[in-house]
Subunit: 337 residues, 2 copies
C-alpha cells in the first residue's frame, strides 16, 4: 500500500494541507518546513495519488491518441515515429499519453471516445488520418474538448493543427520526374475517405496539368497504405497494355511494395521504372534502391501538435493555429538518381 499524504502529515505532525502546499510550492509555507516535508515525502516514497488529484483538480494531465489499426497487426513505421514524438513531447510537459487502437469508424472507436472524453479520462485528443466526414471532430467540438488534427477536414471550423503542403511537394516531385523524361506517371493512392488521399490525388492531377500531361484514368489506382497493397496495385499497373514509366505512391510503405512487384518482374527500379513515396520513414534511405520520397518530419510534427494542444488546453490563444509544413523532396536512386 503506497504512502498517502496523511502518512506524511502524521510523520511530521503537520496538517495534510501544509504538506500538499509545501510540495506544490506555495509561498505560505516556511522554508524549513518545506525542506522537511520534501525530505520525508521522498523518504517515504510518497507520490500523490493520480486519481484523487485528477478528481479534485478536474483535469487529468493526460492526452489521448487512437491508432487507426485495422484488425490484425500492422506496422507502418510512420506511427512508431508519430507515437514516439507524442510520447516524448507529453513526457517533457509532464503529461501522460493514453493510446489505444480501433478500426476507423468502428463501434470500438466510438466506445473509446465515450470512455475517454465523456468519462473525463483525457483532457484533449490528437487526431490524424483525418477523414472527409469525420464524426470525431463533431464529437469533440460539440463537447468542447480541445483537440488538434494532423490534416484539416473540409468541414472543420476553428481548425487547430498542422497541414503538410502537399501541393508544392507534388509539384516538385512531378517536375523532377518530367525532367527525367517521364510522362506516363501513375499514382497509387489510399482509401477514398481519407483527407490525405483526396489531397494527394488532387495534387497529383494538378501537377500533371501544370506540365501539360493528360491524366490517364487507368494509371490512377488505390491501395490500402501497406506494402502488400502497393505490391498488388503495382502488379495491376505493370499488367497494363501500356504500363507507366513512373509510379507516385501515397506513402513509403506502398512504394516499397511497388518496388518489390517491379523487381519480381525482372525490371530494375530507377532504370526501367521510377518509383517515389511519401513520408520519409527512416527505412526509405535503406531500401534497394534507396527511395525517392517527400520527407515530412513526423517526429517534429507530432511534438508540435502536442505543443499546440497544450497551449490551447491552458487557455492560451495560439498566434498561429494552423501551421503549414513543407515536405522536402529527397531524390534518391529509385527515380534514376
Amino acid at each position: 500500500m503506497p504512502a498517502t499524504i496523511h502518512d506524511v502529515a502524521r510523520a511530521l505532525s503537520l496538517s495534510i494541507t501544509t504538506v500538499s502546499r509545501a510540495l506544490d510550492g506555495y509561498a505560505d509555507v516556511a522554508a524549513g518546513t518545506r525542506q522537511r516535508v520534501i525530505a520525508t515525502a521522498q523518504a517515504m516514497g510518497y507520490t500523490p495519488n493520480r486519481a484523487a488529484r485528477q478528481l479534485r483538480r478536474r483535469r487529468t494531465d493526460t492526452l489521448g491518441y487512437i491508432l487507426p489499426a485495422e484488425e490484425g497487426g500492422f506496422t507502418d513505421p510512420f506511427f512508431t515515429e508519430f507515437i514516439a514524438g507524442l510520447g516524448d513531447a507529453c513526457a517533457k510537459h509532464h503529461y501522460d499519453l493514453l493510446v489505444s487502437t480501433a478500426a476507423p469508424n468502428s463501434a470500438q472507436e466510438l466506445a473509446l471516445y465515450q470512455r475517454w472524453v465523456q468519462g473525463g479520462k483525457v483532457d484533449g485528443m490528437i487526431i490524424n488520418r483525418t477523414r472527409l466526414a469525420d464524426w470525431r471532430l463533431d464529437f469533440l467540438t460539440e463537447r468542447n474538448i480541445p483537440h488538434v488534427t494532423l490534416e484539416q477536414s473540409p468541414a472543420q471550423k476553428n481548425f487547430i493543427g498542422i497541414e503538410v503542403d502537399i501541393e508544392s511537394g507534388y509539384h516538385d516531385l512531378v517536375a523532377h520526374l518530367v525532367n527525367r523524361g517521364h510522362s506516363r506517371i501513375a499514382y497509387i493512392g489510399g482509401p477514398e475517405m481519407l483527407k490525405i488521399e483526396q489531397d494527394r490525388c488532387a495534387a497529383y492531377h494538378l501537377a500533371l496539368h501544370t506540365h501539360d500531361i493528360l491524366p490517364a484514368p487507368e494509371l490512377l489506382t488505390r491501395a490500402n497504405l501497406t506494402a502488400e497493397g502497393g505490391f498488388q496495385a503495382a502488379t495491376y499497373l505493370l499488367d497494363l497494355h501500356l504500363p507507366p514509366t513512373a509510379i507516385v505512391c501515397i506513402n513509403d510503405l506502398t512504394a516499397m511494395g511497388a518496388m518489390h512487384a517491379i523487381h519480381e518482374r525482372g525490371l530494375k527500379v530507377g532504370r526501367d521504372i521510377a518509383v517515389a513515396g511519401f513520408d520519409g520513414i527512416a527505412d526509405s534511405a535503406h531500401t534497394q534502391p534507396p527511395l525517392t520520397t517527400l520527407d515530412q518530419p513526423v517526429y517534429t510534427i507530432a511534438r508540435q501538435l502536442v505543443g499546440m494542444l497544450l497551449q490551447n488546453l491552458n487557455g492560451q490563444t495560439l498566434e498561429v493555429p494552423q501551421v503549414k509544413i513543407q515536405p522536402t523532396l529527397r531524390i534518391r536512386a529509385s527515380t534514376g538518381g
Copy 2:
C-alpha cells in the same frame, strides 16, 4: 460540463446508489428501473467519471508501457506492431494503455515509474527490451506491482512473461547458411546491456560450434539496432582483409542497413554475400532482395503478454507463467534462396 451520476439520479428521482448499481448490473434492482436508468443515462450522455471510479475502486484499469526511445525520432516497426498488439488487447478487455517514451536508464524513466506506479496511475506494467541488471524489475517487485516482461532478465525471480527461443532459431538459421556453403559468418549485434544481445550472441556462438566453425573475433560486431547502425557495422565488416560471406543481424532493421552497405559496394546480396535478420517485420518481405529472417509473431506476443498480465492482476494463478515461443525461419532471397 458532463453529466454526473447525481444528474441522472435526480432526473429519475432515484438515489445515486440505485443508479450506480443499475448500471453495474447488480441483481437487486428491478428490471423496469434498470431499463429507465440505462435509457436516461444514455440520453443524458452519462459516462462514469474515471478518476472518481478509480479513486474509489482503487484500481485504474490501465496498463503502462514505456517506449525505449533514445533522443530523437526512431522508427523500428517492431514497436508499432508491439503497441498495436498491446492496444488491441487492452481495448478488448476494456483496459486502457498508457504510453510514454524514455531513454533506458534515464532520469525520465525513473520519474515515469514513480508517477505511474507509485502514483497508482497504472495497475500493471509491460516491459520489453529487458536488461541484464534491470532496476525496473526490482522497482516493481519491491512494490508488488504486477508486470510481464518479453524477455527474462537473469536475476528475475517469479518471471511472468514470454521468451522467444533464440537458440533453436539460430540453430536453424546457421544450419541453412552452412548448407549453402558459408563458413565465414559474421554477426552484428546490439547494445551489450540487453538481454536479447546476450542471448543472440550466445546462440550465434553455439550454432557455430555445433557446425564445427571456429568463431572469428573480428566477425563479431555490435551496432544499435537501427538501419544506420547496421550500415556502419556492415561497412566495417566489408573492409576487413577477409570479409564474411554471410552476416547474421540481431534484427531486421540492422539487416536492412547492412544490405544497403553491401549494395553500395556494388555487391549483390544473396549472391555475393548472404544477410539474415530477426523479427519478421512486415517490410522484410518487401526489401530488395526479400530478407531471410527469424520471424517472431510480435503482434500475437504483445496480445498474449497483456492477457497474462490481466490474469495475474485479477489474482488468477497462471498455469503457464513462462511461455516460450518458437520463431519461424523465413528463407528468402537475401540468403541466396
